[in-house]
Symmetry: C2
Subunit: 193 residues, 2 copies
Amino acid sequence: MNYPNGIKKNYKISTSNRGMTLEHDINETNLYYRNKNIAVIYKKPTPITINKVDYKNRKDAVITEAHFIIPSTTDYNGIYKGKYIDFEAKETRKNYFPLVNIHNHQIEHLKKIRKCGGIGFIIVRFVLENETYLLEIDKLENFLDNNNRKSIPKEYFIQNGYLVKEGYNPYLDYLKIIDIIKERYNEEILEEK
Amino acid sequence: MNYPNGIKKNYKISTSNRGMTLEHDINETNLYYRNKNIAVIYKKPTPITINKVDYKNRKDAVITEAHFIIPSTTDYNGIYKGKYIDFEAKETRKNYFPLVNIHNHQIEHLKKIRKCGGIGFIIVRFVLENETYLLEIDKLENFLDNNNRKSIPKEYFIQNGYLVKEGYNPYLDYLKIIDIIKERYNEEILEEK
């Protein structure tokens, strides 16, 4: 749409990144991490099964029938300071996190990652308050073991997770929190010895 | 096709896994590793861009137009004994490995993984001889830095890589080789200290 000269739509640039999705913010953050050689973390492609492909043009095959399939793993994984990182990211418009948003096998996957020595977690954004929390798989597991609820109250994230502060570059510096978690893991290993 | 009674086609069951693709063998091997809690390594979904989705049925959305896109990373990644693992797997029917089979940004990706402390490599199967080699990114990089060839001769894999022996369960026990590589990395770290 063209506006008459002098009239500018959305003139004020929003100071926060409001309106952007969590996925966008994480992808941009990961791009920043990769460009700065801080970490190599990617979002996996959407899992689908392909039924029909039209090869009429050799260079540009077109998928004409495909179906979404339930993912067996999480959306994001990669490496940071030698550590394997694995997580799922979700948004909610409630003031609690409905557990239907995360599949059981994704939780099992994150538990396995933890057992193998990796760092597994979920990132949940409470859209209305625009607050984003990181919750380790251990804490998620702990909640599930001790509750029959179908959702996790936001309070649980505040008390057991970490608030991921929003910034400009990177948008969501969640690896800062991973530094704290790594430090704690190292201390636990030292204590065990 | 039906054969008259008594005549059996392909009666002898092949003792090796000949005829199975490298992708099949790796996927089965990874499944074995996961089931035995040895490692958590998955093949990533095929990267596509989705253009049209038909939502006529709420439960079963059908993708009616999508395109393949060039992958930015490799096909496989995961965690083994706390280490981040990342690799690409390719088959060739030649007695050399044509470099068109691997994208430049996949090589750059593997180099980054190595710099971050992960283990990056390629697995190449020479289909006609049914021999499968694992070649570390360092050795691949070394070849590319010192050659202008558009392919890597099989000889280079024999001398600089590791033959991955075929078995029954798992099919391709490539983590045995990762144990050797990990050991060498640890020695290098000790020497540096």
